[in-house]
Subunit: 112 residues, 2 copies
């Protein structure tokens, strides 16, 4: 059994922005990032692990997040990610792009 309606989990191109935004709340491990996004979105956004980890690696390669191994409060091994300064700038830029494109889409969807 499954979703109320609709078929897709994610809007392609938005996952990195969601991850960066989540990391503004403090450093977090991958599993926690996914859980956070899923929770705040009321389960609308499902972050699959096969999307999540490659995305985190891309973000690291680009220097927007850094990471280190650590322990969770429940004593489990986990890789903790945190935003870099460059990552903060990138987030601002992605937010601004997104809202620009979103405005454009809405203009078309309301257009005569």
């Amino acid at each position: 059994m499954a979703k109320t309606s609709g078929k897709s989990d994610m809007l392609p191109g938005t996952l990195e922005m969601l991850i960066l935004k989540t990391l503004t709340l403090g450093e977090m491990h991958g599993y926690g990032i996914a859980a956070h996004i899923q929770r705040l979105s009321a389960d609308v956004l499902q972050v699959e692990e096969g999307s999540l980890y490659p995305a985190l690696q891309r973000l690291q390669l680009k220097g927007w997040v850094s990471s280190a191994w650590g322990k969770t409060p429940t004593n489990r091994r986990a890789r903790y990610y945190k935003l870099t300064a460059a990552g903060r700038k990138q987030l601002a830029s992605e937010v601004s792009d997104f809202s620009r494109v979103l405005g454009a889409i809405q203009a078309v969807m309301e257009g005569t």
Copy 2:
């Protein structure tokens, strides 16, 4: 030289919705559809021909649009596309999905 800011032309996953919406205004040829989207979006959305024609073919295969050759007002050969009844339903469904996902994204982007 190029765009004011930002890098990407389209939000992947939204082009078919934009095309379907455009066709609610009446039948139109491919080039005209692209021009319309670009114009209403104040040039933010650039519909490349390499994206447009494959998308139109997908829409036809799924039975959401139909097409026929015709002549433009300026006497050029062009393929005119029009929404089918199934296409109208599909558009409604895509609009509803899009706003649901968008709401979810915004919830994350505003979240604590």
